[in-house]
Symmetry: C2
Subunit: 390 residues, 2 copies
């Protein structure tokens, strides 16, 4: 389990018997988990008196991640907390949810036997692209202050018009990148993707910098300067711009191109500079391919999600600049606060009991007035209510 996130602290504050309904997105590098926890300590005014009477439970959605290579930590977590089989039955939720966990991502197939063998749990597989789309639609329609643009290091929250949400391009940056044209609830097509994604940043970064973790690598990139190793237009043109084609002297002509002519070993470059060049190369490339696909299908809105982003300012800035550059200012990159959990949220919405969440929200058309999803609190959990379908 990732020990440096706020989510862990949040979990520690929840008592065992209050949490339930884990949903997993088991990717190539990371396992993302969403679960529900009742909120006995601070019930909202609207729901505190009727939770058991009409099966309406007030609480929060919590978010956790594990490294896929350390899947045993995830199994231990579920086992220790008995997440899969307790905490909800007495509120009248279906018994069919016991010993079954909704799961998406390739690992839902790869690790199905492991979950069965070690925990006696069946993974109820939810299709990956569909989960990402469900998760994104859920967030965009049901959670206020979810989407934002990132310009000059400033988050500017975007008001989503529920009647004008579709179509949009969803770019999910996991180990690899999927680009999905979303036309409505359950209406989507994976139109493109690239293998140059978060796994490339982390994998290449690990080989080049000996970083200890993804966060370590991101932190290093924050300290570095890509000019140390990228070949800039000015490096080729003797410090001049190449104005005829609109490239300034500081534009990157060739990522890592300076390493060609400098007789330096890897160890002679600062790991921070290498990390920065890598992050910039990958972010810029994804922004470019995303924009070209948005253009291809006439999509005005591009939302970026996936655990690669991690709310990291420089990543979002580079993606934003790439989209702005290639679209000549016509398109804006948008980001999601729960970017890393689209698939897991999508799997979560597949539990029978929560299927009415996004629908209700979408029907009201104004989630700020929707009692089911009140707001996002500061540590990233989502306050919400759950109702069983029975």
């Amino acid at each position: 389990m990732d020990g440096d996130t706020i989510q862990e602290l949040t979990f520690v504050n929840s008592s065992v018997d209050e949490i339930s309904h884990p949903a997993l997105d088991i990717g190539g590098s990371l396992i993302k988990m969403v679960y529900f926890s009742t909120n006995r300590e601070k019930p909202t005014d609207k729901t505190q008196n009727n939770s058991s009477k009409d099966n309406l439970l007030s609480g929060r959605l919590y978010f956790l991640k594990f490294e896929t290579s350390k899947i045993n930590e995830c199994l231990d977590f579920i086992l220790t907390k008995q997440l899969h089989c307790r905490g909800v039955q007495h509120y009248g939720f279906p018994a069919s949810d016991q010993n079954t966990i909704k799961a998406t991502g390739g690992g839902a197939f790869k690790f199905a036997d492991l979950f069965k063998e070690k925990l006696g749990i069946s993974l109820d597989k939810v299709e990956e692209m569909g989960s990402l789309v469900s998760g994104a639609n859920f967030l965009l329609k049901s959670v206020s202050s979810e989407a934002f643009t990132f310009v000059n290091s400033q988050r500017n929250y975007v008001q989503i018009d529920h009647n004008d949400l579709y179509p949009y391009l969803l770019v999910n940056i996991g180990s690899g990148v999927s680009m999905i044209k979303v036309d409505g609830d359950g209406k989507f097509e994976r139109v493109s993707g690239t293998s140059v994604g978060g796994g490339t940043f982390w994998g290449l970064g690990k080989l080049l910098t000996k970083c200890k973790s993804f966060d370590d690598l991101l932190e290093m990139s924050h300290q570095g300067n890509n000019r140390a190793i990228d070949m800039l237009v000015g490096d080729i043109y003797g410090g001049m711009d190449y104005l005829k084609i609109g490239l300034s002297s500081t534009a990157i002509a060739s990522s890592f191109g300076k390493a060609v002519s400098e007789n330096k070993e890897l160890e002679e470059y600062k790991p921070e500079d290498v990390a920065r060049s890598l992050l910039r190369m990958i972010s810029n490339n994804i922004g470019q391919i995303a924009y070209l696909n948005a253009l291809r299908f006439g999509l005005k809105k591009i939302f970026f999600g996936g655990f690669f982003i991690r709310g990291h300012a420089y990543t979002m800035d580079t993606i934003s600049v790439a989209v702005d550059f290639w679209s000549k200012g016509e398109a804006k990159a948008m980001f999601l606060r729960h970017e890393g959990f689209l698939g897991a949220l999508g799997a979560f919405t597949n539990y029978q009991l929560v299927e009415e969440f996004p629908c209700t929200a979408s029907l009201t058309g104004d989630n700020s007035q929707n009692p089911l999803f009140e707001d996002l609190n500061d540590n990233g959990t989502i306050e919400c209510c759950m109702r069983a379908i029975n």
Copy 2:
């Protein structure tokens, strides 16, 4: 000077006083040179008797490259052979060509003072994108058996219909990549590009594998297996395809993604495997972005040039497969035999005396019958005639 190419051998066979009119393309990593050499030993039947009478010189175009970081080797070559000021005057070519060399690429700006100082030579700068286009048009219209597709490791030469050449997308893969929409002679626009190019392959490859040269890196990639380090769809899906979105288990989900979860140091990976993953990542990415741009402008023909390709089978294969995959078989990647010398050839066509070459060829409409450009011989030189404009 690159010592392992056929071009050097070719040069050695030419005597000093027979060669002239060097044209340079000074890029971020490589300097490409084209020059003309009269062909006294084997004059063609058509021209042997009239060369001095009507200023028609029979000969060949020769091709050379140097590393930009070793620019002194290029200067020494020009100085030793006195390439810039002799060999043509007695045939009636303009004296204005003396002490001036046509040059393109950023280095034509960056190194102008160096050429002046060391050799007393002025670099007559030719705009970079225009040179690439002139060079490509020259080859496509004037040299037979120049363009080919590469499918299943087979070169299939393409007959270019001169009346149906435009528009096309020219993708020049140098240190960085330029994508140019070509609508005619001198009619073009740089519509896209990417910083992930040959300099990235070479630069990152050098850091990761300690390769001695670009050719060394290419050779290594030929011996490697990208599965050792790339995360495949099957690695995520437990060996299964992800059929719903058309990805087979062997498709690359995340380039270098396997390095994330394996606790291996860089030294524990075979350099050959690393080189292969890198080549595949970059080739595939360029193929994808090129196709998206061709689609955007409705271009049916995509020609790939630039020194990155080097006639390397695996590179061409990957680019071809990428274009085929992303276009669902609608588009075909095409390559050029003189791929690395587009800019230098374009600069060469700027010498007054050769300006009639491509024009004549294009007017005849059938270069196989054009006495100015007879054929390509086996070592890559181009047999041709030069005529002064006076």
